[in-house]
Symmetry: D4
Subunit: 207 residues, 8 copies
Amino acid sequence: MTKPYVRLNKDDAAVLLVDHQTGLLSLVRDIQPDTFKNNVLALADLAQYFNLPTILTTSFENGPNGPLVPELKEIFPEAPFIARPGQINAWDNEEFLEAVKATGKKQLIIAGVVTEVCVAFPVLSALAEGYEVFVITDASGTFNPITRDAAWDRMSSAGAQLMTWFGAACELHRDWRNDVEGLGALFSSHIPDYRNLINSYSTLVSK
Amino acid sequence: MTKPYVRLNKDDAAVLLVDHQTGLLSLVRDIQPDTFKNNVLALADLAQYFNLPTILTTSFENGPNGPLVPELKEIFPEAPFIARPGQINAWDNEEFLEAVKATGKKQLIIAGVVTEVCVAFPVLSALAEGYEVFVITDASGTFNPITRDAAWDRMSSAGAQLMTWFGAACELHRDWRNDVEGLGALFSSHIPDYRNLINSYSTLVSK
Amino acid sequence: MTKPYVRLNKDDAAVLLVDHQTGLLSLVRDIQPDTFKNNVLALADLAQYFNLPTILTTSFENGPNGPLVPELKEIFPEAPFIARPGQINAWDNEEFLEAVKATGKKQLIIAGVVTEVCVAFPVLSALAEGYEVFVITDASGTFNPITRDAAWDRMSSAGAQLMTWFGAACELHRDWRNDVEGLGALFSSHIPDYRNLINSYSTLVSK
Amino acid sequence: MTKPYVRLNKDDAAVLLVDHQTGLLSLVRDIQPDTFKNNVLALADLAQYFNLPTILTTSFENGPNGPLVPELKEIFPEAPFIARPGQINAWDNEEFLEAVKATGKKQLIIAGVVTEVCVAFPVLSALAEGYEVFVITDASGTFNPITRDAAWDRMSSAGAQLMTWFGAACELHRDWRNDVEGLGALFSSHIPDYRNLINSYSTLVSK
Amino acid sequence: MTKPYVRLNKDDAAVLLVDHQTGLLSLVRDIQPDTFKNNVLALADLAQYFNLPTILTTSFENGPNGPLVPELKEIFPEAPFIARPGQINAWDNEEFLEAVKATGKKQLIIAGVVTEVCVAFPVLSALAEGYEVFVITDASGTFNPITRDAAWDRMSSAGAQLMTWFGAACELHRDWRNDVEGLGALFSSHIPDYRNLINSYSTLVSK
Amino acid sequence: MTKPYVRLNKDDAAVLLVDHQTGLLSLVRDIQPDTFKNNVLALADLAQYFNLPTILTTSFENGPNGPLVPELKEIFPEAPFIARPGQINAWDNEEFLEAVKATGKKQLIIAGVVTEVCVAFPVLSALAEGYEVFVITDASGTFNPITRDAAWDRMSSAGAQLMTWFGAACELHRDWRNDVEGLGALFSSHIPDYRNLINSYSTLVSK
Amino acid sequence: MTKPYVRLNKDDAAVLLVDHQTGLLSLVRDIQPDTFKNNVLALADLAQYFNLPTILTTSFENGPNGPLVPELKEIFPEAPFIARPGQINAWDNEEFLEAVKATGKKQLIIAGVVTEVCVAFPVLSALAEGYEVFVITDASGTFNPITRDAAWDRMSSAGAQLMTWFGAACELHRDWRNDVEGLGALFSSHIPDYRNLINSYSTLVSK
Amino acid sequence: MTKPYVRLNKDDAAVLLVDHQTGLLSLVRDIQPDTFKNNVLALADLAQYFNLPTILTTSFENGPNGPLVPELKEIFPEAPFIARPGQINAWDNEEFLEAVKATGKKQLIIAGVVTEVCVAFPVLSALAEGYEVFVITDASGTFNPITRDAAWDRMSSAGAQLMTWFGAACELHRDWRNDVEGLGALFSSHIPDYRNLINSYSTLVSK
């Protein structure tokens, strides 16, 4: 009756970053730009930190949509990067699909721009093929909250787990003792309030 | 347990525009008027662009509800236009139902004013008869967000797919290569941010 | 998989107004007071207009919760009025339950203050006993939107239909021709924008 | 098809307060701080009033996360208090799990900071093991409304009941006559509007 | 350097209601319709209660702007009613100006639709001629908050006092003892929260 | 041309608390109730901490407006308490005016319910008589933000300084060294985020 | 003490459109894009309708800021168009200044992107030189509401009149009888609610 | 009558950064944390870029307020850094005052935490001594919007210019040609939307 608890597992998960392109980002208005940029880079750092296979894809990057955000290219210099010639749903692109399968993972962590298309379409396709799908809601953006809410409803009804980059990081890490410094650094880089806590703390204990 | 992925297909879909009348539009306060007008016309242009059979209907158009918005009449001069004599749920009108069946389509894209009545009632009726129903949420308007949220919950729980005109256009088009200029023109006409991208791009590449 | 379309029927429906008391109303902050008062009276007028059996109940009305809003007493002078001696869930009160059963109806339209308690508890109890339950969301109020959203989620997940007084009126009436003047008067009394449409129209056609 | 009505019962319920720590609280921005503090203390008072077994737990309390809010320690001096050495999901901690089992209860009332991690993870784990789980949404806080909404969707889809401390108190109490003064005092301490009603009332009746 | 305290005085004040017409009201989106309607009628009742000379005016009432809201005509059957043939600023209309001067008052209480035009223009003109001007902000409406804020800034900078109908009523009345029942009735009719206070109180003291 | 810097001085200041009554508080909807209650008590504690002469006044406290909030009576058992028999502007009450003069102070710190009447009227009267007036904006409440904004504009234009209880406390204290513990305790009691900082700090330094 | 009433006069006014460029528009987030585009075009149509001398200027249009929005070029093919080589404040550009002086007008209507720079700088410069300046607030956009509010405060304090395109149109036109059709067409093209009023009206009177 | 245009000049200006401390930052809730952090660092980079003398100060940095944000220390290793022993208004600290005077500048650009105290107090003191004061509103933060609005009103009324870091940068730079790359880099580092424009542009022109 209810969705079972599908728990992210770092050995089972791959990350798909869909269409975070310099032009398309100007369409994102349901999250403030400073916050959105931070969330996308946090997700990228997360993928790198947990060593998750990551796939980059863009749509029409030679046209007005613009190139992939350069920061993502720098973080993932070796990742498969599929510049789709036209397919709107990345899942319709054979090369992309091959790259997904090549990861050998059954859990897909997906984020992109815009939410109801570039994210929702591959999410729905992947669910239909039996993947466990985790949408990183705060690293996905779109025109306005009405659009976002409709897209979330469609994805959740189809079986997707709605998460955030912070929730995903915590579920993947499981236990702080696996690496206190590493996770702390990830949080400190992307959560100003957490960085403040750490700085206050470090100052006091170093006295 | 979860809704299956029902994907819009341009060969299977018809569009129903319900009660976008000049008087009733003054009731719409959950979307700003400039945005709402643009979304409704975008949906109409989409229907025309994809050649989807489209049905127009109004309720009591000789009374305070006012006539159909003239722009819609102009876009669809040949479309079936059912001025309902009294039925609030368009699905209760025989002529409307005939027109729907005459399209021979199993996917219905529905938008209208107001969301919880003129949209939700035929949506629920169509779902009950086995149609695949796609609500264009941003081309449907009502009194306030509380009303909208309740209506969305009722429609989604009954099996409807909540979408937007942009999401529907992308799902119908599938691949930019089917017609880059056409889809680009549709987006440029109705998404100012996208038009700006195109204008910036065209200026640079034409130099 | 999905909720079936349960359609309000004026021969099958009764209305339960729970704890609209002068003291408790000061707790309602998720809807503005002018709007909320109007919605509650609109629901009452709707019940009277469609001749639906209506039950009034209050909780501790001799204490700080205060008496039932006088307007409701005036609209329903003959309705069963159960001043509960202590049960928080009205459904736990035998007299109330008897009154509900005495209506012989299987569809219950419920509104009250506050949403997550006085509304949600009898809604959940009635659903558990097989009634078809329709929550009038905009005639129900509570402390804040977070509380409202949680209560809506609980009621909807349990099978309730979330509606508004306007949606309920339209679904009950089915066809304007059943009584144009009556329904028009109900809307004109409670929807200022609609009243304006009617006044503009009447002025013009009377010339 | 729908969730059954699972009703809180004071003989069946235990309360889990997860990571309400002085440092972590600075991360909470989806509820205003005065309101959030009040809600957390209201839940604590509720647990004490109904004599529900309560378990406290913290994460890394010697680091930047800070110690448990002192007020909670004072209210529950005897409660099991598990300072987790590293597990992010409290349910992964053996000692915590033992404490939960030792209560012998099948209903778990859970709140904490932050919602999508410290609350959602044990909620999902407990549901997977067959517990009836009630999330106290307004005593749980996180970074922003987007995060909260995603976390609510995940928990509700998995079968959790979304409630508030006020709704839980009312469902547990069942009937005001069980103790009018006690419940009235709980409400008066934590709901300013209700306190005003009582003070207005008492002043008048004491004349 | 600062504006002096100009206090409303019931012997010195007249009320100008500008263009509250059934069509123009559909343009008002910076206040919710239930609240706006209530505020306008409250201001009218205030004018009647304090016996303030009142002037009604409309713009193009035979065209799309629609007739004056009928309720205002009923409240002021004898008031000067100037249907302006074209002047947008009512102050440019000789007949209107004569009516204002005929009141012999130096304080003008002004409200209307839309704020930045029908209200601001005569406000600025009246200030320029030395009148003391009081804008009833909550009985004046316009397209959106940005427009309202700009209009308020322009009027306040020019010397107008920004008030609300409730503030004006209190400043005119000065002392409850002048007529407790009358003022109480005015408030009870237009402030639901105040009506609730009175009903709670009356019920208790009548026991 | 601009307002000079008038700095609060603890030897020159008195506090006027106007109409914080249990009934009237139900009208306050521009600040959330938990926050508003906290702010009012913070201002009271501030007055007590700095030993500022404080005057309490109520309007019609035997009627629906209700009695003064009991907490304020307890904090100021010896303060002049003027239950006005009818004057809406406290400044019109001779006894109140005498009490203000008896303080011998030239700076008046004023807060109350509702902002545009019970606060604004004495503020404007006091300014007109040459007092330096400081409005504690966050310990004053009213119907909605539109009303608040209009009232602030009127008071500020007339020369009042708009402050908050926290700003006033800091301006009165001047230097933490005058009493670190005292000011810290005031902040810790009324600012949850500050209390958390102190608790995190104390825990660390006590190790 | 207060700003005098400076009334827009169509014989005295010129329009300055500053930096509405395709790239810069992606920075505007204090107004929704559909609404903003409509407001800018409405201002342009207004300038054309009233035959006001209009000056266009851009900043760095060959770089990332992008070219002037093409629609503006089309509306004003003959207008002076100054592509500034680097001056951020258009008033610092000699050619622009010459163009302004060449209009021979003393009233300047200014709008642009972004508000606190491209609008505020020439506004402040023009005021300093004795021009009467009218800011079209809703055809000017910037990063967020905080920025807008600060910019408005700076411009208003320096003597600018804050207006909207609709207010400016009405103040320029003075009397509907000067040209009913023309003004009606301007409003109908840019105010969907007004267009609906006209369409409802026309339909009825044409019967 | 109105404030004159006081234009920022890079030869006349110094920057004061007041109390951006790791603990105090947890109090800031009127701006989102990612945005606020970015704005503060943007202001620091601006000061460095224009070579403006900059003064850092903190309040009680060994206590719960926490140390200065480390990033600021790194950007200004040589700047005067006054750790105030107790004065709440930095202007009351002799050492700070000396440092300000030592800059020899007459224009002060001020930002800090919290707005109504750490910013407003030195702003008001500096204005009283004849300095031209520019508040960087978006690099100053406080408890909530009500507090911010009151503080802005007080500072603006006393003669301060309300600006943002972006507006200040543009007013200081005057002409892009003074250093296109430098200003572009400043904007690209702190305005994601601008960075996207630059990246889209560079990609195209490099082809």
